[in-house]
């Protein structure tokens, strides 16, 4: 077949296909096929993510408006929180900064890049001999636009809802534009910096080979490769562990310092924790987001820096390798699934090299030998081994510890944020963090549920296995509850007697962890629930609620005590009863583990 060699007579040299042609061909062919495939361009998850950010912005705005106690002491004649609050608009730096952090971190963790393509684009577009920038561009722009648009829209909602136009429409429009420019620039700057890092640290095939051509030593080459691998590990560590841990430690440290040294509790205190707000004075005072009527030049600087960063990232797009983009795509999908399912193990899997390395190893040399039972094995061998294996598997899942501990600390961190130190917010955050901790603690149960063959490796019945699976969650969730409850008590948000609820809650949550791990497969044939942002499968909703309802039930007595402020022995007794019942209910083997369509239909309105 001579038509498969690159020769002039087989290639049309009058028509040069460009990346734009490739994109147009793909888009056009898809459009011609009809509208039945167009909906795939926008997944429901994308819409819900955008919606979640907007809701977050509105919630924070409400917190800003209704925040009590805006007085703060003046320390040594310096500008303090009182000055800050008097000089700033109530739209709030905190809301914008938190949004920026959330959106950027989310983009990074979801995309692990942040430049990403779909698997089809990687496998069909990248091998084509066209300008790589042209085919990478759509993914780059999409990932850039998500934080920019979400932040801008969120800021506009907050601005409008908190009286941003009260001083006049014209003045409000100008201020809105300046504020949105600031926020959008901040998002673009951060995203582009991440993209530039991705470009800069992609495996450099060309440089490597050229260095070899110039007789560079093998050691230098391997050093480069090792550096790349270390940097990639650091990047994952940064996203996965480093940034959240540092932020949490800083805020937690400041909060506890404030609560103990300055004797200023967060909830119920007359003043805000002043040391936490002092750093605001170092922000550019002309930033219209912070100070009403301030100078505009910081916005101009920010916009210019953002444009420069976007340009640098755009310029580096052709340097991205197919390997790098493939890994980003794989890791991105894993991370996205992990975030949506609250199971952070996907981020660890996204590292790739650990999994690849663990797949290969020396084979067993004892294959073919007759198996015998050890006379030294104790009678309780299977039970002990089953429990021991749980702990070993859980311990080897890197990244879980940080997520687990951070979920215990997060309620206190939220309490440290001005305007969010409300009882209702504390309850909501406690529920969310508990759900996350329960999901992490139940990850081994989840694995056992997904791989029933693992359970058959042990000579134990399904019922005993289910009960034994609660050993690990109990061992980690009881200390988790003690830590979380203690921190809440230390900052003054709950009376000391609330600690009596920690142990029963932890034991009850252990059962909930097992139940959440053993959630059945989603039944996609159930009716759809109509929502403003598209149809949602009722089977998916039922699946998502499986085990989480038990978590909330177990928490309920403790939350009632927290909100009511009364810690009676009867409530503690009730908590023990609820925990015991929940543990029994969640660790039993149900007759049928699948969601019935009739249940889903019953849930569906109309």
């Amino acid at each position: 077949m001579t038509d498969n060699t690159v020769t002039d007579d087989t290639v049309t040299d009058n028509t040069v296909t460009t990346a734009q042609d490739v994109r147009a061909f793909t888009r056009g062919a898809r459009a011609d096929r009809g509208s039945r495939h167009r909906h795939r361009r926008r997944t429901p998850e994308d819409l819900y993510i955008v919606g979640a950010f907007i809701v977050l912005a509105v919630v924070e705005a409400v917190g800003l408006v209704s925040a009590p106690g805006h007085s703060a002491a003046v320390l040594g004649g310096r500008a303090t929180a009182e000055w800050f609050l008097a000089a700033s608009d109530p739209i709030g730096a905190v809301a914008a900064l938190l949004l920026a952090l959330f959106a950027t971190l989310f983009t990074l963790t979801q995309r692990i890049g942040p430049v990403v393509m779909t698997r089809a684009q990687v496998h069909w577009w990248l091998p084509l001999p066209v300008d790589r920038r042209g085919v990478v561009l759509p993914g780059y722009l999409a990932s850039l636009l998500v934080p920019v648009v979400v932040l801008s829209v969120g800021t506009a909602v907050v601005f409008t809802g908190t009286g941003g136009f009260s001083a006049g429409v014209a003045d409000g429009i100008v201020k809105l534009i300046l504020t949105m420019s600031s926020v959008a620039s901040l998002a673009a700057l951060t995203h582009s910096a991440a993209a530039w890092i991705q470009v800069r640290h992609a495996p450099q095939h060309r440089k490597t080979q050229q260095s070899q051509q110039t007789q560079q030593s093998q050691q230098t080459l391997q050093s480069q490769q090792t550096q790349w691998r270390r940097w990639r590990a650091f990047r994952f560590d940064g996203v996965e562990r480093f940034i959240p841990v540092v932020v949490i430690l800083l805020v937690l440290g400041a909060t506890l310092l404030n609560a103990t040294v300055f004797n200023a509790t967060v909830i119920g205190a007359t003043g805000l924790p002043v040391p936490l707000l002092e750093w605001f004075i170092w922000l550019p005072t002309g930033w219209p987001l912070l100070v009403a009527g301030g100078a505009v030049w910081p916005v101009a600087v920010l916009v210019a820096a953002a444009l420069l960063a976007v340009g640098l990232a755009y310029r580096g797009l052709p340097s991205l390798t197919r390997f790098s983009l493939s890994r980003s795509t794989e890791a991105g999908s894993l991370a996205s699934e992990a975030l949506l399912s609250m199971e952070l193990k996907g981020l660890t899997i996204g590292r790739g090299e650990d999994a690849a390395a663990s797949q290969r190893g020396p084979g067993s040399e004892s294959i073919g030998r007759k198996r015998t039972r050890s006379s030294r094995a104790p009678a309780t061998g299977p039970t002990r081994r089953f429990i021991f294996t749980q702990f070993r598997v859980w311990r080897r899942r890197r990244g879980q510890a940080a997520g687990f501990v951070s979920s215990a600390v997060l309620p206190v961190v939220i309490l440290a944020v001005p305007y969010l130190n409300l009882g209702a917010v504390l309850v909501a955050i406690l529920v969310v963090c508990t759900l996350r901790a329960v999901t992490i603690a139940g990850s081994v149960a989840r694995t056992m549920s997904e791989l029933p063959a693992l359970g058959r490796l042990f000579p134990l019945g399904e019922g005993p296995q289910r009960r034994l699976l609660s050993a690990l969650p109990a061992a980690v969730l009881v200390p988790w509850c003690v830590l979380c409850f203690t921190l809440v008590i230390v900052v003054g948000a709950a009376p000391a007697a609330w600690i009596w609820f920690a142990v029963p809650v932890g034991l009850g949550l252990a059962g909930a962890a097992v139940r959440s791990g053993y959630r059945p497969d989603t039944n996609w044939e159930t009716p759809l629930i109509s929502t403003p942002m598209g149809a949602v499968s009722s089977g998916w909703v039922m699946n998502a609620l499986h085990g989480r309802t038990a978590t909330i039930v177990v928490l309920y007595p403790a939350l009632v005590a927290l909100v009511g402020g009364t810690m009676t022995p009867l409530l503690v007794l009730l908590q023990w009863a609820v925990a015991a019942t929940a543990w029994w209910w969640c660790t039993r083997v149900a007759a049928s583990g699948s969601l019935s369509i009739s249940w889903a239909r019953w849930m569906t309105p109309g």
Partner: protein
């Protein structure tokens, strides 16, 4: 032909099985020296050295997990090598280069497709992007060869796994290339299609293309390969052995 180069670094001496009477070309098509491949810090295959000219074909054989696909992915520029050098037409292997992408066609076990594009449109995309003369005619010819004419308008999601494999192969064969890298091309194909594919690869090689392929089918080794490279289940520097196609097929039967 001299497909293999004697490793320059320390390794156990082995008697070359392939004759080395034919001198090397001035600039070989594919020149690999002391290549180490693997994942992360884990070496899978170590110190592979080989040299392919136009019209050469090499069968990479070995047990499951021995590193055949990893080696091929590195040669295709899809996986960064842990060490060593690779050159295609005298230039370093860099899949970001449009020239490299125009020269190397690959088929790996990548089951990803545009959900809205039909089989014919996937092939047309590749043909037009590679500036193939009369792309519509070429698409029709490949569809006919791979038995996909009736599935031309079908979406990949509606095809069987074997048909999707045929589509991937058609996409590699429809475009011009200097080097064709195939990872177990016989996967999921029926007996008749395997036979036709062997003939197609042999014809391609005889026409001047270089082909590197991994396979578990001895018939592919003997019919399509000019030489075989046996990859061992070890990252030792002597884990890759050079064999004749017949010896390679015999080793496969023994494995």
């Amino acid at each position: 032909m001299n497909l293999f180069r004697t490793p320059s670094t320390t390794s156990l001496p082995r008697t070359p099985v392939v004759d080395s009477d034919v001198p090397l070309l001035d600039v070989p098509l594919l020149d690999v020296k002391g290549l180490d491949v693997g994942y992360g810090d884990h070496r899978v295959v170590a110190e592979v050295s080989l040299c392919l000219a136009a019209g050469d074909s090499l069968a990479v054989i070995g047990t499951n997990g021995s590193g055949k696909s990893t080696l091929l992915r590195s040669i295709a520029g899809l996986l960064p090598a842990l060490g060593g050098t690779m050159h295609l037409n005298g230039a370093g292997v860099d899949e970001r280069s449009a020239t490299f992408r125009a020269s190397v066609a690959t088929v790996f076990d990548d089951d990803a497709y545009f959900p809205g594009l039909s089989v014919g449109e996937h092939l047309m995309l590749v043909a037009t992007a590679h500036s193939v003369t009369s792309p519509a005619t070429a698409v029709a010819a490949e569809l006919d060869f791979f038995g996909l004419t009736e599935a031309e308008g079908s979406l990949p999601s509606n095809l069987s796994s074997g048909q999707r494999r045929r589509m991937l192969l058609a996409a590699a064969f429809i475009r011009p290339s200097d080097l064709l890298v195939l990872d177990e091309p016989e996967q999921r194909l029926d007996t008749v299609m395997r036979s036709r594919l062997r003939d197609r690869i042999r014809t391609l090689v005889d026409g001047g293309n270089a082909v590197v392929f991994a396979t578990h089918d001895p018939a592919f080794v003997t019919q399509c390969g000019d030489a075989a490279l046996l990859i061992g289940n070890s990252a030792r520097s002597d884990s890759a052995r050079r064999l004749t196609p017949a010896a390679g097929a015999a080793e496969m039967e023994a494995l």
